[in-house]
Each structure stands twice: as structure tokens, then as C-alpha cells.
């Protein structure tokens, strides 16, 4: 049973990591806490549910790949429009404007989703069902969860590779470390900022796409995820990828074992951890001041 609890914790951690990664990248590179991040995730969810619904009968992996690609493209596109039109004028503005405009965008996207997809919940569990379950130490475990963990690991590795090894990633990190010097070096700030934002938005979309086979896409689905992602990023450290990973694991495993042994504390404990870390180390476990 312990193994299963750990697996559950890992799965939740994977889900959190995937949904908070984009938030973390945007916070790191741009210094903006994007309250509309959850809405981008919701876009991903609705788009993926739509595509999976269209492809009934196709092989599970094909459905998922198409849905995830479509979700990433659309969430990325919305991110692109959002960044270039609404956020661009905000970088030089004080914090309150940055926070409030993303708050406004959050409301706009919520209603736009309703306009486009209607208010009904969208179910897209075909890939989840098709993958079935396997036995792990005598316990049944859904294959899809393992699949999500795998995809998350791949996505994490990809982002690590991108940030550590590629020209693009190294430039993004340079911006994150020292904005002024990056500008003085002639690094194309504008273009890279857009790229980072679109990347973050696409990751949110991917998170939404991978979640709809397990839970229906519903209006307002982004709000709760935003809070969870927010907790992870706060715990891990603003803008730190390593911190996001550690934060996800901490939250995921804590929750899994709390539910198993002292269920009443499930949510309060998470908030308490977050607040405690903020009090002791406000920049988060791996954040830089």
C-alpha cells in the first residue's frame, strides 16, 4: 500500500509540476505573476476535450497526441495575443497593474471559453479508458496515470534541456538572472519574452489537455488549479525550475500520505506548509531574492 500511496503522490506531483511549470517560467523570465495561467490551462482542457470527442474510435495515443498538440497550439496562441497586446505595456508599470490586468484577463478568458464551447461539461475519457489498468504489487493502478507521469517527466526533461543546453534557453536564463545586462548584451528581449510567455502558455495548455481524460472540462476549472500551482511556485521559489519540481513533490507526497493517515488535514496542511515557508523563506526553497 505504501508504494501505491507514493505513486499517488507522484502522480499528483506530476500534475502539479506540469501545471505550475509554465507559471514558474513566466514568473522567472518576466517577473509577472500571471493570474490568468489557470485560464490558459482551461483552454487546453476544453480544446483537448473537443478534439478527443471528434476522434472517437482512434487509438488512444493518437488521440492524446493530437489533442495535446491542439491544446498547446491554441493556449500558446492565446498567450501570444495576450502578451503582445495586453501585457507588453505592463512591464514598466507597478505591480498592482500587472496583477490586476491578469486578473481582468482571467475573467475575459473564462467567459470566452463559455462563448466558444458552451457551458456544459465536456467529457473526454476515451484515452483513459482505452489504456486500462495494470497490477502493481497486487493493487490495480490506471495506466494513464503512469502515462501522465511519463509525459511529465519528458516535458520536464525537455524544459531542462531547453533551458540548460540550447541557445534559446541560455538566453532566457540570462534574462532571468540579470535583465539589464541581458539588454546591454543586445539579447533580443522582446522576442524572447514573447517566446517564454508562449512557452508557458503552451505548457498550461498541455496540463489541461492531459487532465481532461481523467476529469471533465468544466467552466472555472482553471481557478482551482491556479491556486495549487500558486502554492507550488511559492513553496519552490519564484521562477525556479528546480524549486517547482521540489515543491510539486513536496505537495504531492504530503497530500497523498495525509489523506491516507489523517484525512481531515488534507488542505489546511498544504496551506500551512506554504505559509510557513513564506514566513521563514519568503523567496521559496530555491528562489533568489
Amino acid at each position: 500500500m505504501g508504494l501505491i500511496y507514493a505513486l499517488n503522490g507522484l502522480y499528483f506531483a506530476a500534475f502539479l509540476f506540469l501545471t505550475s511549470l509554465g507559471l514558474s517560467i513566466i514568473l522567472g523570465v518576466m517577473g509577472i505573476l500571471n493570474l490568468a495561467h489557470g485560464s490558459l490551462y482551461a483552454i487546453g482542457g476544453f480544446v483537448a476535450a473537443y478534439f478527443i470527442g471528434m476522434m472517437t474510435g482512434s487509438p488512444a495515443v493518437l488521440m492524446l497526441v493530437t489533442a495535446a498538440a491542439a491544446a498547446m497550439v491554441l493556449a500558446g496562441a492565446v498567450g501570444l495575443v495576450m502578451e503582445t497586446t495586453l501585457l507588453k505595456p505592463m512591464y514598466k508599470r507597478p505591480l498592482e497593474y500587472q496583477l490586476l490586468i491578469t486578473f481582468g484577463i482571467l475573467m475575459l478568458i473564462e467567459d470566452l471559453i463559455k462563448l466558444v464551447f458552451g457551458g456544459e461539461s465536456r467529457y473526454a475519457s476515451a484515452p483513459f479508458d482505452a489504456m486500462g489498468s495494470i497490477e502493481i504489487t497486487g493493487h490495480t493502478y490506471p495506466v494513464y496515470f503512469l502515462f501522465v507521469m511519463g509525459i511529465t517527466a519528458l516535458a520536464g526533461l525537455f524544459i531542462w534541456w531547453l533551458m540548460a543546453k540550447t541557445k534559446l534557453g541560455i538566453m532566457l536564463r540570462a534574462i532571468e538572472m540579470d535583465r539589464d545586462m541581458a539588454q546591454a548584451m543586445g539579447i533580443p528581449m522582446r522576442r524572447l519574452t514573447v517566446v517564454a510567455f508562449v512557452l508557458g502558455a503552451a505548457l498550461a495548455g498541455l496540463g489541461g489537455a492531459l487532465v481532461v481524460p481523467t476529469t471533465p472540462a468544466v467552466l472555472g476549472m482553471g481557478m482551482d488549479v491556479l491556486i495549487m500551482a500558486f502554492i507550488v511556485v511559492v513553496i519552490g521559489g519564484l521562477g525556479s525550475l528546480k524549486g517547482t519540481l521540489v515543491g510539486s513533490l513536496l505537495v504531492g507526497l504530503t497530500r497523498s500520505f495525509t489523506v491516507a493517515f489523517y484525512a481531515e488535514l488534507e488542505m489546511p496542511l498544504l496551506f500551512m506548509i506554504a505559509v510557513l515557508i513564506l514566513v521563514v523563506k519568503p523567496e521559496g526553497l530555491f528562489g533568489q531574492k
Binding site: 541560455i170 540570462a174 540579470d178 545586462m181 546591454a184 548584451m185 528581449m189
Partner: protein, 235 residues
């Protein structure tokens, strides 16, 4: 004329930092910018780089008015800057720091033409440091990386802010050699320094800056001959 600054005024909010600053650099020159801390040397350099936007006056580079250009387009047209505090990216390796310059300059129409060997020639020690993280370097090593990183942008004019400060005498000599070698590559230099001492050995000409104004321009010998100026910039 490589660079021409004409009557540049710069303000932070309502405080005037630069007062009608004019200066010129011709190809192949090493020009000194001498003055105390806070005299306005860094502000002049940042104005040239487009990091500061002057209120009045113009900046011409390679006979083109660049006053309104972005920093990036100035970098691509041949300006590069190594700031006073080096500002080496702490989490990037030396190689990555320098490669940033190569990558940016590869966006120029003529592409990048800097090779790591050129850097090693100027600062042989870089070879040993190549895979170290920027944050782990000593002050002098950081300055080497900062200069090489700027060189990697394949500039025509290099702005070096306080490149000698805080260096041991031996290293200073090394840097002076490096500067002569850089000039040998056909790159002009503006060198900011808080005293004439070391700078006098490499600069062809110098401007004395005080309170955001250019007090004087001339050869190091002329400056040394003027008692009032030596009080400001040392001998």
C-alpha cells in the same frame, strides 16, 4: 568618425545626471573617460549603449544617428559594453557567457566572426575557466569574462567601464596588454577609469568628467600638466 556624442543631457526623473556631454572617438583609438566615482562616466557609457535615453542631444555611430535606436540594434551595428561590476551571469558557465555574445552577433547581416581562440589569445586563463559557473569566479576573472563576452559581439567600439579597478598590479598590466591587442584587432575602445595612473599608459586621448560635465579633453600628458585636473583624476 566612429562615435560622436553631441551635447547630451540625461536626467533621472528631474535630476540632471549628464550636462551637455560631447565626445568623439575615431577608428583605432583608445579613449579614456576619467573621473571620480559618481562623476557620470557610467551614465555616458549607458547613454551610448542606449540603456539610458538622453533628454537632449544626439549620438552618432558610424555616421548614423542612433539616438533613438534600441540597445540591440546598437549592439548589432558594432557597439559592445563591459560594465563596471562585470555583471557576469552567475548561473551560466564562462563558455555560455561568452557564447551569448557570439549568438547575438550571429544575428548581424555579416554574421559572427569571433572565435573562442581569439579570446584565449587575449586572456589565456579563460581556457582553464571555460566550464566554471560565472558566480564562482574571482573579481578579476569576472572582468576577463566581461571583456571577452563584449568582444564576442564582434564590436567596432568597445566600452570598458573601470576595467582596472580592484585588480592586482600584475593583472592590471595583463589587462593593458589585452587592450593593446584588442586595438590590434581593429577595435576602438572607450576606457572609463577613476584615475589617470594606469589608464595613461594605454589611452591616446582622454576626457575628464566631473559632476556630469566634460571638463577637459586632451592627451594624458596635457592632463598631468594641469594641477587642477590632477586633483580630480590623480596623476
Amino acid at each position: 568618425m566612429l562615435l560622436k556624442m553631441d551635447k547630451v543631457d540625461f536626467f533621472v526623473k528631474k535630476t540632471q545626471i549628464l550636462r551637455s556631454v560631447s565626445l568623439e572617438v575615431t577608428p583605432g583609438e583608445i579613449v579614456g573617460l576619467l573621473g571620480r566615482n559618481g562623476a557620470g562616466k557610467s551614465s555616458i557609457m549607458k547613454s551610448v549603449m542606449g540603456l539610458y535615453q538622453p533628454k537632449n542631444g544626439s549620438i552618432t555611430f558610424l555616421d548614423r544617428d542612433v539616438t533613438k535606436d534600441s540597445t540591440r540594434s546598437r549592439v548589432l551595428s558594432g557597439l559592445a559594453y563591459a560594465p563596471e561590476d562585470s555583471r557576469v551571469f552567475p548561473e551560466l558557465t564562462v563558455a555560455e557567457n561568452i557564447n551569448l555574445g557570439v549568438w547575438v552577433s550571429s544575428d548581424r547581416p555579416q554574421g559572427a566572426d569571433f572565435h573562442h581562440e581569439q579570446g584565449f589569445e587575449i586572456f589565456p586563463k579563460l581556457q582553464q575557466l571555460w566550464d566554471r559557473k560565472g558566480g564562482t569566479l574571482s573579481g578579476g576573472e569576472k572582468k576577463m569574462v566581461a571583456v571577452t563576452r563584449a568582444l564576442a559581439l564582434s564590436p567596432k567600439l568597445l566600452l570598458l567601464d573601470e576595467s582596472f579597478e580592484g585588480l592586482a598590479p600584475l593583472v592590471v598590466r595583463h589587462f593593458m596588454d589585452a587592450m593593446r591587442r584588442i586595438r590590434g584587432m581593429g577595435i576602438s575602445i572607450i576606457l572609463a577609469a577613476s584615475n589617470l595612473g594606469n589608464a595613461s599608459k594605454v589611452v591616446d586621448r582622454a576626457y575628464v568628467v566631473e559632476r556630469g560635465e566634460i571638463l577637459f579633453q586632451g592627451t594624458p600628458e596635457q592632463i598631468m600638466a594641469d594641477e587642477k585636473l590632477t586633483l580630480i583624476v590623480g596623476r
